[in-house]
């Protein structure tokens, strides 16, 4: 098939992107905590909790499926 090395699993890419998103959204949630945006149910700080979940999920996938030396 002529592959150039072992293909990285798709789960690794999922992990990287979700980690990046989780970081951005978590930071946004922290910054806006004192003054939540003018949306319904903003008092529950969904950006903070959502960012935390994304960061956790992304971190798990990125670490679990990271490239390893054979």
């Amino acid at each position: 098939m002529g592959h150039k090395g072992q293909m990285l699993p798709v789960w690794f890419f999922v992990g990287i992107l979700l980690t990046a998103y989780g970081t951005v959204i978590l930071l946004t949630g922290l910054i806006e905590w004192p003054h939540p945006p003018a949306v319904v149910l903003s008092q529950y700080h969904p950006a903070f909790w959502g960012g935390l979940i994304l960061l956790g999920l992304g971190g798990f996938y990125a670490i679990r499926f990271r490239p390893r030396r054979n």
Binding site: M1, V10, F13, Y21, G29, S42, L57
Partner: protein, 573 residues
């Protein structure tokens, strides 16, 4: 061409009707998505070195990857926006398009049809038809599939551009060109590898981005009981929250359909036709590493399909309950009003602040682009293997067909761009898809199924059955357009709505296809049995799995989703 001016008429020239403005975190999230998908495409180019790599991902995908991409290839613009819109219009009946229209067909594909697709080692559904019936049937199916798939790709693009225009105030044409060129680049680079990787990525984004709405929405309305009470208060009918109990009569439900249309038209013909013969989704299962993985892929997808209504149907119901204004059909939008198609963006704007909004918008973009990528990669495969190779340039090298695959990926995208500018006057996006499905897919299901299960089906029978079914569907559609009174005959009731008409038209065209196939087959000569080995029941050695533990057998997991389906129908009866 007619829909764009109508929609634009609802917007003020300075774009002040945009729903929300993006902030820096939202834009960063969107930009990161485009960087990621392009980066994945460039990374995977090194692995797409043969036509088998490019068109079938080397047939080395695991069951989970094949299954998630099988599901995501279908989670496009039509799913995200169209079904939320349809739910707002028809209530929970729209969920039938996720439950009865998914589980039985996916299981039939897995257990009945995938062995023949996989064992025959065909590269596409038209490829199977060539082996089973001959060139004429392959050409008819291949050309009609290619035509349909670029139309569907254009619809995906249009729907995404519409969302971007309404939500963000982005110019319609800018959105079409930026998204389509991005898809063109990553699919042309990595082929099906790239399309599948990005579909798995999009699966996560769609779920995580869209989940905000049902979670916060259910908190706002106070759970399911609160939702039901508010919907009843708004529409003065409990029909919007019952799945089956209102289908005893045509006039007793918002969709104007009888349960026979749902069960036989939708669950029986349209669903089976789509999930078992639409090469866009079947291609993902064919890319699996072995037969067992190919069979498990649609079964895995069916489990997720059972819960997709949480992020698509539930937001539509929540919109009925919480939005302070009524939505209207797209063709009736006036200044200050919103159409059914804007349900999902409106709900995102309601609950999502900076960051989460960017994730939600990216989920929509991802859904639309995966739909387009799926159509384009399927088009490239069918064009190269089923039209270009057999009829235009035979016996070329593998490298030549690989180059053709990359070029026609780009061609497919540009044709899709052209079709995006020809959107019709249908009341909702899903009506458009259903009409297309009924033209081509419903009769094709009859042709493929008969070919796989009945040795006596002949080449002439298959061809004439498929042609008759397709033409009859187009004629029925045209008949109702010219004289709406014909609706009462085709859809069995003068109270039938357009979506119901599509279901019955698909049913009749499939039945007609089967009838003609059987009759013509009985009067023509079948292929000798040695030419049908691996293609039809009774002449195919399907590996048995008696030595496998029960939990590793596809039939075990198929039984599980059947039980889940039954429980869901009972809960929402």
């Amino acid at each position: 061409m007619t829909a764009i001016p109508l929609i634009a008429a609802g917007l003020s020239p300075d774009g002040s009707t945009r729903l929300i403005s993006l902030h820096f975190p939202d834009i960063l999230i969107i930009v990161l998505y485009f960087v990621a998908v392009l980066g994945i495409g460039f990374y995977l180019k090194r692995y797409a070195n043969t036509s088998n790599d490019f068109f079938l991902a080397g047939r080395e995908m695991s069951a989970w990857v094949a299954g998630l991409s099988f599901l995501s290839a279908n989670l496009g613009a039509l799913e995200l926006m169209g079904w939320a819109a349809a739910t707002y219009q028809y209530g929970i009946l729209a969920a039938h398009f996720y439950w009865i229209a998914a589980f039985p067909a996916m299981v039939i594909l897995a257990l009945v049809m995938m062995p023949f697709y996989y064992i025959s080692q065909t590269h596409s559904v038209p490829g199977y038809l060539r082996l089973r019936y001959g060139e004429a049937t392959r050409a008819l199916s291949g050309i009609s599939f290619a035509f349909m798939t670029v139309l569907m790709s254009g619809i995906n693009m249009y729907a995404m551009a519409l969302v971007m225009e309404v939500v963000l105030g982005w110019n319609l044409h800018f959105s079409i060109w930026v998204s389509s060129i991005t898809v063109a680049v990553y699919v042309a680079l990595g082929g099906l590898f790239s399309a599948i990787f990005n579909e798995v990525l999009q699966f996560f984004l769609i779920w995580l981005g869209a989940l905000v709405i049902p979670v916060l929405g259910m908190i706002e309305v106070g759970g399911w009981k609160g939702l039901v009470a508010r919907v009843d208060e708004r529409v003065h009918s409990t029909a919007y929250v019952h799945l089956w109990s209102t289908l005893g009569t045509f006039s007793g439900n918002p969709m104007g359909v009888h349960w026979t249309g749902i069960v036989f038209g939708l669950g029986g013909v349209i669903a089976c036709g789509y999930w078992t013969t639409d090469f866009l989704v079947v291609q993902r299962a064919m890319a699996a590493r072995d037969l067992r993985s190919a069979q498990l892929a649609p079964i895995i997808a069916s489990y997720f399909k059972m819960i997709v209504p949480v992020i698509i149907i539930l937001p539509g119901l929540l919109a009925i309950a919480v939005l302070p204004y009524k939505l209207v059909p797209a063709t009736m939008v006036q200044t200050g009003q919103h159409s059914y198609n804007e349900v999902l963006p409106l709900m995102l704007a309601r609950y999502c602040g900076p960051g989460l909004l960017g994730l939600g918008v990216t989920a929509l973009i991802a859904g639309f682009m995966s739909g387009m990528a799926g159509n384009v990669s399927a088009f490239a495969t069918v064009w190269t293997y089923d039209i270009y190779q057999p009829y235009i340039r035979k016996n070329e090298s593998d490298a030549h067909y690989l180059r053709m695959g990359r070029w026609c990926t780009l061609l497919g995208v540009f044709i899709s761009i052209a079709t995006a500018y020809f959107v019709t006057e249908f009341r909702s996006i899903m009506d458009y898809m259903q009409a297309l499905v009924s033209f081509f897919i419903a009769p094709l299901f009859g042709t493929v199924l008969l070919g796989m299960l009945w040795k006596r089906t002949t080449s002439k029978g298959g061809f004439w059955g498929l042609l008759t079914g397709t033409v009859s569907s187009i004629l029925m559609y045209a008949l109702v357009k010219v004289n709406p009174d014909w609706l009462r005959y085709i859809a069995l009731s003068p109270n039938a709505k357009p979506m119901a008409e599509d279901l019955y038209r698909a049913l009749w065209s499939c039945l007609l296809c089967v009838l003609v196939t059987v009759v013509v087959s009985l009067f023509t000569e079948p292929k000798p049995p040695e030419q049908l080995v691996g293609l039809v029941r009774g002449l195919t050695n399907i590996p048995r799995e008696k030595n496998l533990p029960l939990v590793r057998r596809p039939i075990f997991w198929a039984a599980g989703v059947a039980i889940l389906f039954g429980v869901i129908q009972w809960i929402f009866w």
